[in-house]
């Protein structure tokens, strides 16, 4: 197979990227999906950003400082920052953006992201006022944030797209249309010059950007939902970068220099509904978890996934390999017998629900086979359309088991562990454990890594070994195709895409 190397030399200045679908919004505060994020990171900057090792780095902020108890943080902006229209970027742009994110009228899905800020949750849930939200621009360069509990991970939060600064004057002037290419002002390496609904966005360097040299003269971001189409375009030399490539083609592309495979902070798992029989019996939940051989899943899915029995994924601080229930079919059978179902006899034909999608189907089928083989039980698997699936698992009679995933919003254990706290809005499992909650809450009171690790280990053991509210399956992978002539392109496990530093190696050599 030929590859994208045979590029047209005259096109060299343009970088053509295939995004795996359509962004839902270009408004940072309202964004919630990964594809919007892939566009927004080219247009905007946050206070901080992640490097390739997920270490937090300054972006628009020069530095930040916590108080001793980690309940206040002050960000200092870099000097001389400007929006793409030449206006200065000031701390009050952040104050406005964050309060707008929290404004219940904005209806932002990710408003809860800033709930660590004092008064934020109250304002967002219409119980408090805007004035009482603990974020304040002390002067043009200083942003002061009061937290309602210690949050040593807060600099991670300030890297997320929903916290990017936005311009109050433009939003007031243009309303919902302020993100149109001819109206918007941006803080990132590129500015939009053209947008065609359902097709592509064209970017050019932002002349007022000062955080680094932008080498691409023009970037075209195409929205290509069909993965085989993106592959065809790449093979025909008409795309330079394909994000989320067609899994079927991975074996074929594996040996090419065009192929990129890397880890992703996304864990897929079986969620149990632990409050209904037979799932209310912890022995049953354990038996189901221990019967699963995780190494089978990557061989079914073929995308470089990594089987895992822990909740905190490898590559993230807090990951501990030995936590969680190990694969042990004998023990699983014994547990099932103990629960009153020797050799699976009499076990009801319970439902495992999954959403539409080839990968989800493959997992469900594989688990069904494994449970039949190891435990002698029959699990019914059923598929639902996405929207129906989401409605059912949080509805009035949720299925006993469902397939779910968590994609990291920020690379700190708090983001994964907070999910299953009793008061979490994303907790679809019905687990309410004060032992778990207490440890997770304690773990953010300190920045001592050793102490945090211990607490997270304990909390994970409650979640995975005592309560057994779910069974982690595998860590997902990123699979991309990129023109080998591209330099400066780095992916981290968050899947962040930064095109600002990207350049053509051949052009650089001739320079």
């Amino acid at each position: 197979m030929t590859t994208g190397c045979e590029r047209d030399a005259s096109k060299q200045a343009t970088l053509r990227v295939a995004l795996p679908g359509q962004p839902t919004t270009f408004d940072p505060n309202k964004a919630y999906d990964a594809i919007s994020g892939q566009v927004l990171t080219q247009l905007h900057e946050g206070l901080t950003r992640h490097d390739k090792n997920l270490t937090i780095q300054p972006a628009l902020a020069k530095s930040w400082k916590f108080n001793e108890s980690y309940t206040e943080i002050t960000f200092e902006l870099k000097p001389g920052l400007e929006w793409s229209d030449g206006e200065p970027i000031v701390a009050s742009d952040f104050e406005y953006s964050w309060k707008r994110l929290l404004d219940p009228g904005t209806r932002a899905e990710y408003a809860y992201f800033l709930y660590d800020i004092e008064g934020a949750e109250a304002y967002n849930s219409e119980k408090g006022t805007r004035e009482n939200v603990g974020v304040k621009a002390l002067d043009d360069h200083t942003l002061h944030v009061k937290l309602n509990r210690p949050a040593p991970y807060f600099p991670h939060i300030a890297s997320f797209m929903v916290t990017y600064p936005v311009r109050e004057d433009l939003i007031k002037l243009h309303g919902d249309r302020w993100t149109d290419p001819d109206k918007v002002a941006v803080s990132g390496p590129f500015k939009p010059v053209e947008y065609l609904q359902d097709y592509r966005m064209v970017l050019e360097p932002n002349p007022h950007y000062t955080l680094g040299e932008v080498r691409m003269k023009r970037v075209e971001l195409y929205q290509i939902a069909e993965k085989s189409t993106a592959l065809n375009l790449f093979v025909a030399g008409r795309m330079d970068l394909v994000l989320d490539m067609l899994p079927l083609a991975i074996p074929q592309m594996k040996s090419q220099p065009d192929y990129y495979n890397g880890p992703k902070l996304e864990v897929r798992y079986v969620g149990y509904r632990i409050d209904k029989p037979p799932m209310d019996n912890v022995a049953v939940r354990k038996a189901l978890a221990m019967a699963i051989d995780r190494s089978e899943l990557p061989s079914v899915l073929k995308g470089g996934e990594i089987g895992t029995r822990t909740w905190l994924p490898p590559g993230m601080f807090g990951h501990a390999e030995e936590v969680g229930l190990a694969h042990d079919p004998d023990k699983a059978r014994a547990l099932l017998a103990e629960a009153g179902y020797p050799e699976g006899k009499g076990f009801p034909e319970i439902l495992l629900l999954y959403r539409a999608g080839d990968d989800w189907r493959l997992i469900a089928e594989n688990l069904q086979q494994q449970w039949k083989r190891e435990l002698g039980i029959t699990i019914r698997i059923e598929v639902r359309e996405q929207k129906v699936f989401f409605q059912e698992i949080d509805g009035e009679s949720p299925p006993p088991m469902h397939l779910a995933r968590w994609v990291a919003d920020f690379p700190d254990p708090e983001n994964f562990m907070g999910l299953f706290k009793s008061n979490s809005g994303n907790n679809s499992l019905g687990i309410k454990s004060s032992d778990f909650d207490r440890r997770v809450d304690q773990a953010v009171q300190t920045d001592d890594r050793g102490q945090r690790e211990t607490l997270y280990d304990e909390a994970q053991r409650v979640l995975l070994e005592e309560e057994v509210a779910m069974a982690p399956l595998y860590v997902n992978a990123q699979n991309h195709l990129r023109n080998p002539d591209l330099g400066g392109l780095e992916f981290n496990a968050m899947g962040d895409l930064f095109l600002g530093p990207v350049y053509w190696k051949s052009e650089e050599a001739s320079r």
């Binding site: 967002n124 939902a225 069909e226 025909a236 129906v388």
Partner: protein
């Protein structure tokens, strides 16, 4: 055009067309009411997301899009403690409602006007299709304005290809009835008819883009980008047209007037193209209307495979996303085109066959 023909056209155009257009209104209304109702009662909603929205945000969104109101003026109550029950209770507090057993009926005119269906109909009368529930800053009018012309262009080319290829294949097959040429033409027709779009599309891309490197494999940048998708779109219907043409022409060849024409010494070519083909026109015109409407509103598969920014893909994606206003928008455009195309077909039919009168 002869004067008799013109007089004939004038006659049908006034009464006939006007009446057919008027009939279109209740048809469209029925389409709107039925699809609106079915869609809203389908499980899953536009704001059911992987990460559930916080209750206040969900409440605000439902109010903004009027989803918190009863769908129809007649509805059944739900348990008061469910979120939906609370929403309905709030509605009933505002407007008068009569109850007959478990069934509630909105009795005030303003109450009825504020149910989801009537609010939508009122909005439609103002020409507003509403804001998308997935792309919440984009109006559906704007989505259609951007995507319909693309599908229209692609569909129009595909339509011409359909009839060009179809009639040619059909006439050739009829002319050489029973020979290997007939057989070959009908094999092509059967293949084209039975091969799904995505297979044909992939096949064409493989040959013309990846092997021969003659045409682009996807995207929408100019005339060269129309060829493969239009061909993919046209192949299925073209084979259908080929079969219709072949059987129409063959039927005619057995007729006496053909014998007369031949006896008069007309060339075989003229007999075939003028006399026999005219006989096949009726069914060809009949299918052209719905076919044109279907082709110009776009195809999900072809637009998806060739990454074309048309409106066809919304017939699927908007339903999956439960993006109610967008589903209604594309459905309305499709229905209106079907109605229009059928009127045009009836007129054409009358022109082609003088026996058809009012």
């Amino acid at each position: 055009m002869s004067t008799t023909m013109r007089r004939f056209l004038d006659r049908i155009s006034l009464a006939f067309i006007a009446r057919r257009l008027l009939w279109g209104i209740p048809v469209l209304l029925a389409v709107v009411v039925v699809s609106f109702t079915v869609l809203r009662f389908a499980p899953g909603g536009p704001f059911d997301r992987e990460k559930p929205l916080p209750p206040t945000i969900m409440k605000g969104l439902r109010a903004q899009y009027k989803l918190d109101r009863p769908i129809l003026p007649i509805y059944t109550t739900e348990a008061k403690e469910t979120p939906r029950g609370k929403e309905l209770a709030a509605f009933e507090k505002e407007y008068s409602v009569a109850s007959i057993g478990p069934v509630r009926i909105t009795t005030s005119a303003t109450g009825a006007a504020n149910t989801q269906l009537f609010a939508y109909l009122g909005q439609l009368l103002r020409g507003d299709l509403g804001v998308s529930m997935k792309y919440t800053e984009v109006n559906v009018n704007d989505i259609l304005r951007a995507t319909f012309p693309v599908s229209l262009k692609l569909g129009a080319v595909a339509f011409l290809l359909t009839y060009g290829i179809g009639v040619l294949l059909g006439v050739v097959a009829a002319r050489f009835r029973g020979t290997w040429i007939d057989g070959a033409a009908m094999v092509i027709a059967t293949l084209g008819f039975s091969m799904p779009n995505f297979v044909l599309g992939a096949f064409l891309i493989l040959i013309f883009s990846l092997w021969m490197r003659l045409l682009p494999p996807a995207l929408w940048e100019g005339p060269a980008y129309v060829i493969l998708p239009a061909l993919t779109l046209a192949m299925g219907p073209a084979t259908y047209v080929a079969r219709l043409t072949r059987s129409g022409v063959l039927d005619a060849l057995d007729e006496e007037y053909i014998r007369t024409a031949r006896a008069k010494g007309l060339s075989e070519r003229r007999v075939l193209l003028k006399h026999a083909l005219t006989n096949a026109l009726g069914p060809l015109i009949t299918v052209s209307g719905p076919l044109l409407a279907t082709l110009v509103t776009g195809s999900f598969i072809v637009e998806q495979v060739f990454a074309i920014p048309g409106m066809g893909r919304y017939f699927i994606t908007a339903v999956i996303d439960r993006d109610y206003p967008t589903v209604m928008g594309v459905t309305l455009v499709y229905a209106a085109l079907i109605v229009l195309a059928n009127i045009v077909v009836d007129v054409l039919y009358a022109v082609a066959d003088p026996r058809v009168e009012e």
